[in-house]
């Protein structure tokens, strides 16, 4: 019975609500301006904290009318202000409310309203604008089309603490790209906002601080300017340091640390500056501690990872600060088993942050272990570390996967870890799985890690080979991304190092000579280097050399000629000469050089090159050609003698004495060995 009674009752309540809402909207159209004002004030009181009412009013079309009243010059200032307040209140509701407001072109209307002189009205408009702009559904570029808006906002900064708070908050949410940074910078954002850091209002201080953090992010121009800014005679970096004091609110410490981090990464502050080493870094480590909120721990870890990424000294310091490595292990314990039972709300909260925590921890581990072997050892010795990475590689969240593979990549730079923990935990399995179809950023990291796993001393190399990785790597070399091409060819190069004939043939087959030569003309120097490296590895032992050269000799010689004639770096040419030397080592392959006078002339000229490394490689090549023990060595020696090689070799043995640098000594001894071939 109760149920039956309840249903009609609810309907009547609903209709009543809509009716009263309609009444509010109707009053906006009253011919008497006084009544309209009263209507708006009543509406204001009705919508506060009432999302349903807000939605009703929007549906009933209150917004266009309010905007009309707000823009109408004939409206009294009081009415216009109240309209802005009501709109601000509507914006406080759901995301849908914001969308409706933006669709009604509320932003240009409110920006126009800022031209009014009345402070109360300006503040009401700014408050509403702030609420709209901080919502993720509002496109931030709506702030920028009118070039007069930003300068006007800057000029309003001096009006009151409220305008300061709202405007800086708008800026910090609407500055998402380098272009935005430049626009704000060019309109004097730094000079205008810097004094607000010493504002008596905490809110203003915080918003100003946030502004600086978004302005300085990856922006050298802003960062360089910031270091020289004085606030009340104090350097800005010192103001930030003061804001990181431990008795300040956590939010302030964290944001100030972010500002200094960004300035440091943008090159404006040295990494060995005390404000980084003794203040920013410890502050960020503290943000990772268990006492902090989950959000703060995520942000702290990410910022710290970013700060020390390029600097091994900071990585070393952080690794011993406050047990950071062990502290991070705690990031993986959410949601904890306790929270699941204890209360649902906490579980929900934990679950929401669990991914974020894990990816932040992986990122920080990756940064910590980027360069120092001891730190890597410490990380892998952390409880269940490798298991965590392995399971992180196959997590549903792409952010976690990416961070996990970054971490793995960092650790894979350690020979010891490759030999031990990497093999024990068969990390190659999830890694291979990850490579199957992942977005490019994950692919770059994963393939880079794979390169290290394919190093010849890595015990994982065999099982990876068996899993059919060659096809995958070959497809990577055809990618549009240079990073992926490098990684693909790099991995193949590592794989070909001292590999079986079978593997080499397989590589050449899978890659195809066409692709190989395309890579040899790749615009990316790295790709070229690694491709040459691959060739060199392929052309290693004598039978392999002869076999490959018999099938692809012509193309290879062509490519070598091209590179030796082209404009390339010393490293590239050295690598090419080494390939030539390898070819010269083959039994039948030799003839490809010996019959090519043009090539012989090139080798001769490189023997007299100003760069010792190139001389060395060329001499190496000659010494292989004239090696005594092989068939037909006499004819080759004779031919080269005719071409004047002996004189050059003789000069090389003379010119250098053992007291000179290592490579010169090596060169002279190499030349001597070659000379001996003639004497024998």
């Amino acid at each position: 019975m109760a149920c039956m009674l309840e249903a009609p009752l609810r309907i009547s309540v609903l209709s009543e609500v809509t009716a009263t809402s309609r009444h509010y909207v109707d009053r906006l159209f009253d011919p008497d301006p006084q009544k309209v004002l009263q209507g708006v004030i009543d509406m204001k009181n009705a919508v506060i904290g009432n999302n349903k009412q807000k939605a009703n009013l929007i549906v009933l079309g209150a917004v266009p009318r309010l905007l009309y009243l707000l823009q109408q010059p004939s409206s009294s200032l009081e009415l216009r202000t109240e309209c802005a307040v009501v709109l601000g209140s509507l914006a406080m509701g759901t995301e849908n409310n914001i969308k409706s407001l933006v669709d009604c072109h509320i932003i240009p209307a409110l920006l126009q309203g800022l031209l009014c002189q009345d402070l109360c009205f300006i503040e009401a408009c700014l408050r509403c604008l702030r609420t709209v702009f901080i919502s993720p559904v509002t496109p931030v570029q709506l702030l920028y089309p009118d070039p007069t808006v930003i300068p006007h906002l800057m000029s309003l900064l001096s009006r009151s603490q409220r305008t300061q708070e709202y405007i800086t908050q708008i800026f910090s949410h609407c500055c998402k790209t380098p272009e935005h940074q430049t626009i704000l910078y060019n309109h004097g954002a730094i000079q205008n906002i810097a004094p607000l850091l010493n504002s008596p209002s905490y809110k203003v201080q915080m918003q100003a601080l946030k502004c600086f953090s978004v302005l300085a992010y990856e922006n050298a121009q802003v960062s360089m300017t910031l270091v020289n800014v004085l606030v009340d005679g104090e350097l800005l970096s010192q103001v930030f340091v003061r804001m990181m004091q431990r008795d300040r609110p956590i939010e302030m410490q964290l944001t100030a640390a972010k500002c200094l981090t960004y300035m440091c990464r943008a090159g404006a502050i040295r990494t060995d500056d005390t404000c980084i080493v003794l203040k920013t870094l410890p502050c960020l480590v503290r943000m990772c501690s268990k006492e902090r909120l989950l959000e703060e721990r995520v942000e702290g870890a990410e910022t710290l990872a970013y700060l020390m990424e390029p600097d091994v000294e900071l990585q070393r310091i952080a690794s011993v600060t406050d047990h950071l490595v062990a502290m991070l292990a705690d990031y993986f314990k959410y949601p904890s088993s306790v929270s699941a039972i204890a209360d649902i709300k906490r579980l929900d909260h934990d679950l929401k942050h669990a991914h974020e925590l894990r990816q932040a921890a992986f990122k920080l581990y990756a940064s910590l272990g980027a360069n120092d072997e001891d730190v890597r050892k410490k990380i892998t010795e952390t409880e269940n570390m490798m298991d965590r990475i392995v399971s992180g590689l196959s997590e549903s969240s792409i952010k976690v996967r990416l961070a996990a593979v970054r971490c793995l990549h960092s650790l894979s730079r350690s020979v010891q870890q490759l030999r031990t923990s990497f093999h024990d935990h068969a990390v190659w399995k999830p890694l291979m799985k990850l490579l199957q179809n992942a977005p490019d950023e994950v692919l770059v990291m994963a393939s880079s890690t794979l390169c290290n796993l394919l190093l010849e001393f890595s015990p994982s190399k065999e099982p990876i080979l068996e899993s059919g990785v060659i096809e995958l790597l070959c497809s990577l070399t055809q990618s549009d991304s240079p990073a992926l091409r490098v990684n693909g060819i790099w991995a193949l190069m590592n794989m070909a190092f001292q590999a079986d004939q079978k593997v080499k043939v397989e590589i050449v087959r899978a890659l195809g000579t066409e692709q190989l030569f395309r890579l040899l003309s790749d615009p990316d120097a790295n790709v070229l280097m690694k491709t040459l490296g691959l060739l060199r590895n392929l052309l290693s032992t004598r039978p392999h050399i002869d076999q490959i050269m018999s099938s692809h000799g012509k193309q290879i010689m062509q490519a070598v000629t091209l590179i030796l004639e082209g404009e390339h770096s010393i490293e590239v040419k050295e690598q090419t000469l080494c390939i030539l030397a390898n070819i010269a080592d083959g039994n039948t392959a030799k003839e490809l050089i010996m019959t090519n006078d043009d090539m012989l002339q090139k080798i001769k000229s490189y023997m007299g090159h100003s760069n010792v490394k190139l001389q060395l490689a060329a001499t190496f090549c000659v010494s292989n050609l004239i090696w005594n023990e092989e068939d037909g060595s006499q004819e080759r020696q004779d031919k080269l003698r005719e071409m004047g090689f002996v004189d050059i070799l003789h000069k090389l043995t003379q010119a250098s004495d053992p007291s000179l640098c290592d490579s010169l000594f090596l060169l002279s001894s190499r030349a001597k060995t070659a000379m001996q071939q003639y004497l024998a």
């Binding site: 004091q245 431990r246 008795d247 003794l278 410890p282 011993v320 600060t321 047990h323």
Partner: protein, 577 residues
Amino acid sequence: MQWRERKGMLQAQEDKNRRLYLCQCVTEHRGSLRLEAGHGKNHKDAASVRAAHPIPAACGIYYFEVKIVSKGRDGYMGIGLSAQGVNMNRLPGWDKHSYGYHGDDGHSFCSSGTGQPYGPTFTTGDVIGCCVNLINNTCFYTKNGHSLGVAFTDLPPNLYPTVGLQTPGEIVDANFGQHPFVFDIEDYMSEWRAKIHSMIARFPVGERLGEWQAVLHNMVSSYLVHHGYCATAMAFARTTETIIQEEQSSIKNRQRIQKLVLAGRLGEAIDATQELYPGLLERNPNLLFMLKCRQFVEMVNGTDSEVRCFGTRSPKSQNSYPSSPSLSPRHGATNPHLHTTDSPTCSNGVTSKNKSNSKYPGVSSASSSSSSSPSSVNYSESNSTDSTKSQAHSGTSNQETSDSEMEIEAEHYTNGLADASSARIVNGTYKHEEILQTDGHGLGNGLAEDGSTSRQLCGGNLAATERMIQFGRELQALNEQLCRDYGKNPTHKKMLQDAFSLLAYADPWNCPVGQQLDPTQRESICSALNSAILESQNLPKQPPLMLALAQANECVQLMARVRAGSCSFARIDSFLH
């Protein structure tokens, strides 16, 4: 806050036989304490040196740093803490109640021969810090200004900073605060200060929130009533709907008396007290004596009505003092200044001289809201400490001027005052005899000719001066009477002596005892009288607010005695601003 080791207070280990070959010695090097190892070979040759005093719990957070000047042969150095009685022939950490961080392996040793991996190793050039947090009884180390994280928890009390060396050539310098620290310990302390403050601020006061509010209202209200801020108290009671126990007329009476005292019109104040609270002063002869002494001072000042408006009746002389004297309250010396907004101004112009009005500008507007009331508490607090100090001071100086002189002095005054016009005071060192001689013709004139001040003794009135002399004799008689009834009272004697000394100077306002004439000196007697009146009405002689404050102070001191480290960051005055 921080306990600082004085130089030279480290004790080298006492075992002289061992020292022969260990040669471990402590010297001073540029203000640091330098330790050098001798010829040790293995762990049996280790030796530790520890501070002469344990770390006091009340310091909250304790920190010291050790710079490794040289790691010597093997760098087997330990830095840490140990309790009294721990074997000093070993590195800190190896034995029970001893804790250390060792340089060779970077391990921490917690009362055990086997260490736990803790931090990095340390060697020549490193600065190692050791911080003991006595709030949560933990310890962490720092290396070159970087915190290495907690090393030990659940530390026992009374640990000594300890440094141990083992192999030859090891040299370290200890810094107990003589030099700036590498680690920013101040920042760490500020964090804990903030933590404890927020802990106090967020201390749960129970579910009965309304009751808590009422308690606070009552505290404020009773404070206002106590000091007689009648209108403010009424306004406060109205807005907060609290009930004032004392009747409004009673408050007004007290307010009236206080105003009289603060205006320097002591005679009238005494009269009013006797009229409104008969028997009160008879039961408190000490209080009466204090009032009368002050009255004498005010006569000199020219503010008391007996010298101002000549012809008013003199107070009845008191012959019997039946009840025992009561002490003035400790916190009596609050600032009972006149509240200009809620009271009619006094008829005579003295109020303008009352410094207390300008001295506590913040307080006059206080009290209508509970939030601003702590400010007034703060002032009264500092005031009361001042007064207790000055009381203590006068007490000691009283003893110094001592008993031997006492008899003679009594004679002085009797003579001098009994025969002021003829004038020979026994030992002629006092300058005032001259003045007193001439003043038969007109003391006021003589002073006016001095010209140093516009103020004149007794307002420059001859008759008034005579009245003053007369009053002085009565006062002296009263003192003798009290001596007879209750025995000698050095405080009284001192008071009387100070008051009479004023007459010895040509310009009493600028003389060594001239401070008595300052209107702010009326405040202590005013609050003493106020407390006595309240007590006689069976009302608390101190406002609950002051009691609570005193109790909080006492608790903090108690915490220090029971080794609760947080007390050092829970200073009452940091909450009163």
